[in-house]
């Protein structure tokens, strides 16, 4: 009896001691932070787009270093996992499967080639993995989990029309010819919405010509464009594309200004000469490498030099890659703050992407997404002057030229 009383006393003391502890534990469960946050990237380190997409590898690795040097996301370091699609959708699909089945699974994905983004659009939606992608409309729309990392190609063309009408000094309406790549990317500007917008702005779209990515001569197309009396040529092509057009213009002695968006950049100068691109116009949604007083450019340059990157990797996709990592950091961080690490999901990150308004990625670019528009809308016009790309306009809001079927 005496033993039983002693045992009961111990039991009561234990209960009285442990119960509040257990209650405390229930009230504030400790959530383990992950050891790393992964961001998956599928780009073209090899294949036809490698000349321009190659430096994304450098940008993502340098931006990863920058984010981790500045405390990661809520103290958790990020890890960028880069995979090469080599210009083949089947390989990109294989890489995607690997990424989404990785442990820990990347919480966001970046796709640098339109064809991959198009091919993976539905799988991304099913897997609920928020993705930043290059911007062929069919890569982003119908709206799901894919967001544009810059303006859609149609919106870039619309912004070009706006800028042209602002600066046009001729008495007759300007005549513009499209000479673009015969690919999903190139043909993204050949939509009825773009044609209608040009017409509404008073720009006379006189020709729509295409050429293959492998073509080294576009004389035939240029002769047809010359016959139509074009005042400007606008192209949606990258790396060798603009160079082929500019060489053709030089060979023909056809003195007409040339413009391009996003893909027409420093890389074109590296593979030709600065004289060839002099005076041409390019449109980006971020600041130029040559704006050395920009804090974002200074930071990028610091990491670029620290990693001893080759000078020719200073192309358009480097700031873009850097910007993308900063967007990922921002939205993942916001999602963690709102729902916590334990409830971090694709849906929570997507919700934060949709709340992103005028987000300044280190001053490199300004990003806004809305429920209607899954791509940014601010961009600026630059011009090649003595081997540098310098702004010739303020930041401009591009028109929304989304195809009717996606509205």
């Amino acid at each position: 009896m005496k033993h039983l009383a002693k045992f009961a006393l111990v039991l009561v003391v234990l209960l009285l001691t442990l119960a509040p502890l257990a209650a405390c534990k229930q009230a504030a469960p400790t959530v383990q932070k992950p050891t790393v946050v992964r961001i998956g990237v599928i780009t073209d380190a090899t294949g036809p787009y490698a000349a321009i997409a190659g430096p994304t590898l450098d940008a993502y690795l340098d931006a990863q270093a920058y984010v981790n040097d500045t405390g990661g996301i809520d103290g958790v370091p990020i890890e960028v996992v880069v995979r090469d699609g080599a210009g083949k959708v089947d390989l990109a699909t294989s890489m995607y499967t690997e990424l989404v089945n990785m442990s820990p699974r990347p919480v966001m994905l970046n796709l640098i080639v339109s064809a991959y983004a198009e091919a993976l659009h539905d799988r991304i939606a099913e897997d609920e993995i928020p993705t930043l992608s290059v911007t062929a409309t069919s890569a982003i729309y119908p709206r799901a989990y894919t967001f544009g990392m810059y303006l859609t190609y149609a919106d870039f063309a619309g912004l070009f029309a706006d800028w042209l009408m602002k600066t046009w000094k001729g008495s007759a309406p300007p005549k513009v010819a499209f000479l673009t790549w015969d690919s999903t990317y190139g043909r993204a500007i050949l939509t009825q919405e773009v044609r209608d917008y040009f017409k509404s702005k008073g720009v006379n779209l006189v020709a729509e010509e295409v050429f293959k990515m492998a073509d080294l001569d576009v004389t035939t197309q240029l002769v047809r464009i010359r016959d139509k009396g074009a005042d400007w040529i606008y192209s949606n092509s990258t790396a060798t594309g603009p160079v082929v057009v500019l060489k053709g213009l030089k060979q023909l002695g056809y003195n007409v200004p040339f413009a391009g968006a996003i893909g027409f950049d420093w890389s074109c100068m590296y593979i030709s000469t600065k004289e060839l691109v002099e005076g041409s116009v390019a449109i980006f949604n971020f600041v130029s490498w040559d704006e050395t007083d920009n804090p974002g450019i200074q930071k990028m340059t610091e990491y670029f030099d620290k990693a001893s990157r080759p000078a020719k990797d200073r192309t358009v996709l480097y700031p873009l890659g850097f910007q993308n990592v900063l967007i990922c950091k921002e939205v993942i961080g916001r999602a963690v703050k709102e729902v916590g690490w334990d409830k971090l999901s694709g849906e929570a990150i997507k919700a934060q992407l949709l709340k992103l308004k005028n987000f300044s990625a280190l001053g490199i670019s300004t990003i806004t997404y809305t429920a209607d528009r899954y791509s940014p809308s601010l961009a600026r016009v630059y011009q090649f002057k003595d081997g540098k790309l310098l702004p010739v306009s303020d930041w401009m809001e591009a028109p929304n030229l989304l195809e009717a079927k996606y509205k």
Binding site: A45, T46, A50, A51, G54, P55, T56, L57, D58, L61, V82, R83, D84, G85, A86, K88, V89, D90, L91, T93, S94, M95, T97, E98, V100, N101, A115, E118, A119, L120, H121, D122, R123, E126, A136, S138, D182, S183, T184, R187, A307, S308, R309, P310, K312, D313
Partner: protein, 352 residues
Amino acid sequence: MSLPCGTFNETYAQDMAIVRTRTQWIILVGGLVLLFALPTFAGPRVITLGNLIGISVISVLGLNILTGYCGQISLGQAAFMAVGAYTQAMLTVHLKWPFWAALPVSGVVAAIVGLVFGTPSLRVKGFYLAMATLAAQFVVPWMIVNVKPDITGGIHSFRVPAPALGGGLVLNTQTEMFYVIIPIAVIMTFFAKNIVRTRVGRAFVAIRDNDLAAEVMGVNVFRYKLLAFAICSFYAGIAGALWAHWMRNIAPTHFHLVDSIWYLGMLIVGGIGSTTGAVFGAVFIRTLDLSVSLLSPWVSSTFPAIGGQASAALSPLLFGLAILLFILFEPRGLYHRWEIFKAAYRLHPYSH
């Protein structure tokens, strides 16, 4: 077929059998069991690669019938795959046909298109025939992009749903697609293996070896050449249809001339004129392709000073080097190596 030492064919049935000995049966059944059990122990990347290999095997088997057995070269295999893929997509998306009903029709439509592009084979051969089939690689994508782009999607991608097998069963994942693609690949391998043993197959081989002699013997050369084109394109059509559902998305850029050349490359590397070689070639090239593409991101992150573009060059360099060395040291393909291995195994421990 060479038989193991001490094994003799005593009946016609034995002479006709593809699988002749108990060991061969054990290897076949064991191999199939292992193949179909692959998703239980292999990771998703391997399964995805397995699906791609399965599709490639079907396409290369078709090319082997045309080029390996009948001796007619074709550079349009990817274009015929495009015909199958777009037919399958249009039937299942626009006309709401079930997957299984649309699949053979896609093969047949591709076969008809193959017949059209095979017609020049009566008058030309060798490089000239290659040029004629090359036309398919330009005409077919052009038609997809420019003729009725509202139906085909034009230059943009055409979204294809995951195949539904009825009863609400939708094959969404790579593993589920594995159990569609691989059985079809196995069945089509069986048919390909058998074709060469038939009257038709023997006519193909006769044409390949000497078309004049074949004609003198009474083989209708034009008919059999066209038949080879039709069978080859049928295989390509089925491969294309499976590709459409596997990718869940098709675009003209998925069926490039480079792909046609690589299907031919797979055949050469594997061993032209052999069903086993076609399988070996597809497995080897696809695996090599995936392996080298993993190299450049690794090099770039390990040696940052090299830079993304320079390190990227390593992958195609290594890929090209592997193919070059292969052709240099084993021009008869992997199949020949396999035959040497089998002979050595049968004769062990005696070398002669």
